[in-house]
Subunit: 391 residues, 2 copies
C-alpha cells in the first residue's frame, strides 16, 4: 500500500535525541546525550508512601476519568506557587495541567498558528518544540544566541522579515541545548518587541528551578501586564519525568482553547500522578527537595566543567551553565561534527550533534550537547576523556 502521509507530517523526522536514546542499549556507552533528570533526584520513598495513601484513601478519583483542565487542587497549588514564588499570573491568566511541558508547547502552537505561519526561536533550540511547530505545519526561524540570550537586533530583523510570524519561542533560563540564561535586560527587550509587533511569547521554563549558581532572574511571564505570554513548565525535572505532569499559565482566552485542543489529544493528564503531585506539595517540602537537586547538579556540573577545563579546555569551547542540565560544546574550526560524534560513540560516549537543534533542519553545526545530570561522577570524568580521545 502506498500511504499518503499528510503534508505537515511528511517532512518530519524522528527526534535525533529519542533515536540516540533508543540506540543506547549498550550499557558500556556513557550517555552524555540524554535529556533526563538524575534518577537520584526522584523522591522515590515519599512517592511510594503517597502511592499507598492514595490507593487506600482515594483510589476511585485516581483511576477514573478527570476533567481536562486538571485536578482542581493541583491547579490551585500551581497557581499559588507561581504567584507567590515567581510573581507569575494575573487576573486574566489561568493555569491548567498538561501531559508534560511538551504538551503545553504543542497546544500553544495548535491554538494560535495556521499552517504556513512562522515561529521564531533561539538557535539552537529544543528539538521537541521545533518539531511540535513543524508538525503543525509551521515554519521555524532561528535567531542566534549570544552569551546573554537571543540577539535582539537579529530578532527584530527576523520579525520584520517574516510577516507571518505569530510567536516567539524562548527558553530564557538554562536554555536547552545551550545552557545559556537570558539577561533581564534582554528579557525585557524581547517582551517589548513582542508587544510592538503584536506577537505572542511562548516561554518554556522546564529548568528554571534548577539554579545552582548566580542570581535569580525574573521570568518574562512575570512582566506580562498585557496578556501576551504563554508560560509552560513541568514537574519533570523536580519530581519525576516519567509521570508526565506539566502545566501552562496563560491568558484565559487562550487557555480555554488549549483545553479544547487537549480534550482531543488525551482527554486529561494521568489522574493518579496529579493527585500525587498535589499531595507531595501539601505533605512534603518541595522547595527543600529542590534544594537537594540543585546541590546534586552543582556538584556534577562543577566536576564536568573542571574536567572539560583540564582535558579539552584548549580545544573545545563550552558554556558554563548556572543551572539546568546541559553544557554546549563547540568544536575547533574545521572539525567534522558527524565524524566526531561517530568516533565518540566508538570511544563509548554518546553526545547529541548540534544539527538536531537547528531551526533550519538542513543547516550545519560545529557544536554538540552534553549533560552531567544522569552520568555518575566516574562516568563524567571518563566521558570527557573519551571526548578528548575523539577529537
Amino acid at each position: 500500500m502506498d500511504y499518503q502521509i499528510s503534508e505537515k507530517m511528511k517532512v518530519m523526522k524522528p527526534s535525533a535525541i529519542r533515536e540516540i536514546f533508543k540506540s543506547l542499549t549498550d550499557p558500556s556507552i556513557i550517555s552524555f546525550s540524554a535529556g533526563n533528570p538524575a534518577p537520584e533526584s526522584f523522591p522515590t520513598e515519599a512517592m511510594a508512601k503517597l502511592a499507598g495513601d492514595i490507593f487506600r484513601e482515594d483510589p476511585i478519583n485516581a483511576l477514573q476519568y478527570g476533567i481536562t483542565e486538571g485536578y482542581p487542587a493541583l491547579r490551585e497549588d500551581i497557581s499559588a506557587r507561581l504567584r507567590n514564588k515567581f510573581g507569575i499570573g494575573r487576573d486574566f491568566d489561568s493555569t491548567i495541567v498538561v501531559t508534560g511541558g511538551q504538551q503545553g508547547i504543542e497546544l500553544a502552537c495548535k491554538v494560535l498558528c495556521n499552517e504556513g505561519d512562522t515561529v521564531i526561536s533561539e538557535n539552537p533550540s529544543f528539538i521537541g518544540a521545533l518539531n511540535a511547530f513543524r508538525s503543525n505545519g509551521m515554519k521555524t526561524v532561528g535567531v542566534p544566541l549570544d552569551d546573554d540570550g537571543i540577539n535582539i537586533p537579529l530578532l527584530e530583523s527576523a520579525i520584520k522579515d517574516n510577516p507571518r510570524a505569530k510567536m516567539i519561542y524562548l527558553i530564557p533560563t538554562f536554555q536547552n541545548p545551550a545552557g545559556i540564561t537570558t539577561s533581564e535586560e534582554k528579557r525585557r527587550a524581547v517582551y517589548a518587541l513582542a508587544k510592538k509587533y503584536g506577537l505572542i511569547i511562548l516561554e518554556d521554563n522546564p529548568y528554571g528551578e534548577l539554579r545552582f549558581a548566580g542570581e535569580e532572574i525574573p521570568t518574562i511571564k512575570s512582566f506580562d501586564e498585557d496578556g501576551i505570554v504563554i508560560y509552560c513548565s513541568s514537574f519533570s525535572k523536580i519530581l519525576s519525568a516519567g509521570m508526565r505532569v506539566g502545566y501552562v499559565c496563560a491568558p484565559n482566552t487562550l487557555v480555554q482553547k488549549m483545553v479544547v485542543a487537549k480534550q482531543v489529544e488525551d482527554v486529561h493528564t494521568n489522574m493518579f500522578f496529579q493527585i500525587m503531585t498535589h499531595r507531595f506539595i501539601k505533605e512534603y517540602d518541595l522547595d527543600e527537595h529542590i534544594d537537594g537537586i540543585r546541590a546534586l547538579y552543582r556538584r556534577k556540573c562543577s566536576l564536568m566543567l573542571e574536567t572539560l577545563d583540564s582535558e579539552v579546555g584548549d580545544t573545545i569551547k563550552f558554556t558554563r551553565p548556572q543551572g539546568g542540565l546541559f553544557v554546549w560544546c563547540t568544536l575547533p574550526a574545521g572539525t567534522d561534527l558527524t565524524e566526531f560524534v561517530k568516533r565518540a560513540i566508538s570511544n563509548k560516549v554518546a553526545v547529541v550533534p548540534g544539527t538536531a537543534f537547528n531551526a533550519d533542519q538542513n543547516a550545519p553545526s560545529d557544536s554538540f550537547r552534553i549533560t552531567y545530570a544522569t552520568p555518575s561522577e566516574e562516568q563524567i570524568v571518563a566521558g570527557v576523556k573519551a571526548i578528548k580521545k575523539s577529537l
Copy 2:
C-alpha cells in the same frame, strides 16, 4: 488583547459531554451522562499491590523518561493478546502505546490528513473523535446508522460525494453513543469499500471486550490483509480510565509517523502505569477480571432496559446493547430535545443530547445518550423514572 486563534481551533467548541460532566457537582443529580466506566470495575486492590511492588523493585524505570513507542514489555503483551485472542496484527503491523485511545485517533488523523480532507463516520458518532478531526482542520461527514451498523449504500455515496475523503472512522462494536454493533457482513462491506476507493479505516474499539450478550464478531482489523486498517483501543474500560493507557495496532509505515507525532504531543505515555498494566497482565488474570466487568454491566444494563420497558416503553424508542456502556434513546416525534434535557436536569437526571454526537455540528437531533455503567441500581431505576417525568 485581541487574540488571533488558528482557523482550525476557532470553530471548535468544548465537548458538550465534558461540559455537562464539569457541571455535575450537584450530588443529587443522577448522572446518566458520563462516559465513565463503573468505578467498581477497577481492580483497586491488585493495583495497590502492584504499585507497592513497582516502587520497591523498579522505581527508576517508572519515574524516568521512557521511549515514545511505549514500554517494550507492555507492547509485547498487547501484540500477543491482539494476535492470539482477536486475530489482529500481521507482519506489516506494529503496536504502540498511546495516552488513551483518544490519542490514537488524533494521531491517525494528524498523520494521514491535510486540512480540508474529509473523514466519514457513523452518524451519530463519538464526539471526542469528531472533535479530533475538526481540530486538525478536517471536514466530518456522517452516514446514518442502521440497527446492524452503518448504511452501506449511503457510505458509498458519501465516499463518491467527497473526493477528498481520506478515512472512514467507525466504532463497530457497542458504538458510542448508539450502543449498536455492526454485523460481520457490514464490516466486510466497509472493508471492501475502503479497499475499492483507497481509503484508510480507523477502527475504534474501546468497548469491544465488554460483551455481555450475543456472539463475538471479528474486528475489521482482523480482515486486514491489505494494511488499510488502523486499530485503536485502550485499557480505560477494563483497568482504569484515569491512568490514560491506550494502544494502536497499524501498518508499521503509519505507526512510525504516529510515533513522531506522539513525540511532540507528550514524549511518551505515563511510565508507571505502563509498567503496572504489564504486571497486571503477567501476574493476574485479565480475562477473568474482564468477565467480572461483563457480569456487572449485564446486570446493570438488564435493569436499565427492563425499567425503560416498563416506564417509557410505549413512548421512547431505545437500543438494546449487547455490551459496552450506552443506550441510545429517541424521543417521540415533535418533542423538543433541548427542553427535554433541561426538564430532565430539573428532575435530577442528566442525559447527553444527541446533537453533541452529530457529524454536522448544526444538525438537529431527537435522541439522547444514557449510561448504566456508573449509576447504582437504585439510581438506574430513579433516573429512568425521572426521564419519564420529563417527557
